[in-house]
Symmetry: C2
Subunit: 348 residues, 2 copies
Amino acid sequence: MNETTGLSCPIPFGRYPNILLAHGGGGKLTGELLEKIFIPAFSNPALDARHDSAVFDLKGARLAFTTDSYVVSPLFFPGGDIGSLAVYGTVNDLAMAGARPLWLSAAFILEEGLPVNTLWIVAQSMKRAAEEVGALIVTGDTKVVDKGKGDSLFVNTAGIGVIEHSLDIGPQSVRKGDLILLNGDIGRHGIAVMAQREGLEFETGIQSDSAPLWDLVSLLLSKGIRIHCLRDLTRGGLAGALNEIAQAGQVRIALDESSIPVREDVQGACEILGLDPLYVANEGRLVAIVDPGDGKRALDLMRSHPLVSEAKIIGNVTEDSPLVTMKSKIHGSRIVDMPAGEQLPRIC
Amino acid sequence: MNETTGLSCPIPFGRYPNILLAHGGGGKLTGELLEKIFIPAFSNPALDARHDSAVFDLKGARLAFTTDSYVVSPLFFPGGDIGSLAVYGTVNDLAMAGARPLWLSAAFILEEGLPVNTLWIVAQSMKRAAEEVGALIVTGDTKVVDKGKGDSLFVNTAGIGVIEHSLDIGPQSVRKGDLILLNGDIGRHGIAVMAQREGLEFETGIQSDSAPLWDLVSLLLSKGIRIHCLRDLTRGGLAGALNEIAQAGQVRIALDESSIPVREDVQGACEILGLDPLYVANEGRLVAIVDPGDGKRALDLMRSHPLVSEAKIIGNVTEDSPLVTMKSKIHGSRIVDMPAGEQLPRIC
């Protein structure tokens, strides 16, 4: 029961009555907050679709709308910073609905004592990132909290995009036989942030893969690829994203481990740190689930895009029951579960 | 210079190179961040209008878009909580563009250790508030930060509204002769939060005025009132809001102190605390600047609304130079300046 209000939730929270870092990890506990708190409170068709963006109609236009807060620590990391991350992240969530990003908001929660110069650098980074994707930052807000009640700088971005095609992109459109494409090697963002935060040095200097994905999605759409679902791989990594799709679309996804690109230095860092690259966050990677007849052409298109180094078909949709499995390089097949705890907190 | 990036802003930040609580107070220092950092970085017509919401066209529809983060402390206060505040605040910013609120986002930054039950209570409050105004919460996000790196719970809401009239509501439309209407007594929200936070007891139990304003605005619009500008009185209070309008619209606003309602208990609390009610935050108050020919009718309409207790015409627009003055109850006329410091941090 809450002391001030005297209220208490009728649904028990089980083993975890208090918020853990894992509640923000994009895995099982994040899902529990959604199931037990947010869906019951806010339920409506756009929210219940549980896609990266809400999609709705307005006077004949189809719009997508999304939001994310960014609490990455440190603010600056190899290959990016909280500013570009906040712009790309929201742009990518719009792109995952097949929406062209148009307008963004930017809201800052600053901790007292933050050098104003740091805010300037972050704003400049947001400016460049927004220009790169052709979106405008049109509204914003700044709040300040007392020293010790925040952590230098948090950013929230929300975004509005417009859907200019007639596909219904989302887990509900995934079908048996569909092919699953991935646009590059996984795990770099999480490892880059982790290394910077912990002062670890990896020989090759792993850079975040942070990048905007709308241009790639736009290419696939413009060439008529029958895209059934898109999802960017952020918190929870590839495993988290595919489990979400499997659950929401009630489909079984079968992966082939040997087709999933992981750079040698990232694999090495993961082994040292005891991490599984399948669960490590990315910020410029997506899976595209496409009609089997378009798989080869989609792959060629992806590979023709300047931001894509190593696109692959990594698996397919095999049946109508919610599960993700993987044919491993050595051991036969195993279940790839939803992430349970939090491997790397605050990577976005 | 920033150590990690080696970058530094070309514009000097003057006396305050580090963020103060006053940078979030809605006064001069908040304005400086806008002038020196955000406008130069993001400049575009929607942002440069410096209105509560950005307004733009999409395929024949006129949309408004806004965002605010909420860091109020404590989370629960007499007359409201962070959840309803976050919904009403964003709805009110849309309403100030004359936009009907349709879709909201809700993003949470939780501090590790927060009782999950507290999040549930806040979500329930947001649910009720959204239902009350007829808006849907369609997308969201949850992040968790380590204990000591946040303050229990921050909320960001962004909102999309649709503009169904042809008025151009904003500081640019304010003209000499316009009348300034206020929809009720000022200063209650700030005092209610402050009292709760500091454990002060006022005999009468001052409640926040937190309330949604769209219904009132909708009433004025539906009756054809020629509204030139609307602004809700949040951080910075009545003085802050009117100074913003005076600056943005390049007009002089003359107030009559005797017409501005302040409850006796609020006046008393302000005197004890050394505050000026003109600068204390409200969350359910607006000024409507209307064509002089519509002033009386607008006042009658306001007074007919169930949420309005004490509407008044508090002044008028007198000339084309940016200034706010007030005829005081006893001393002749004085300048009402933009708030300079921060009287009451974290009231929204």
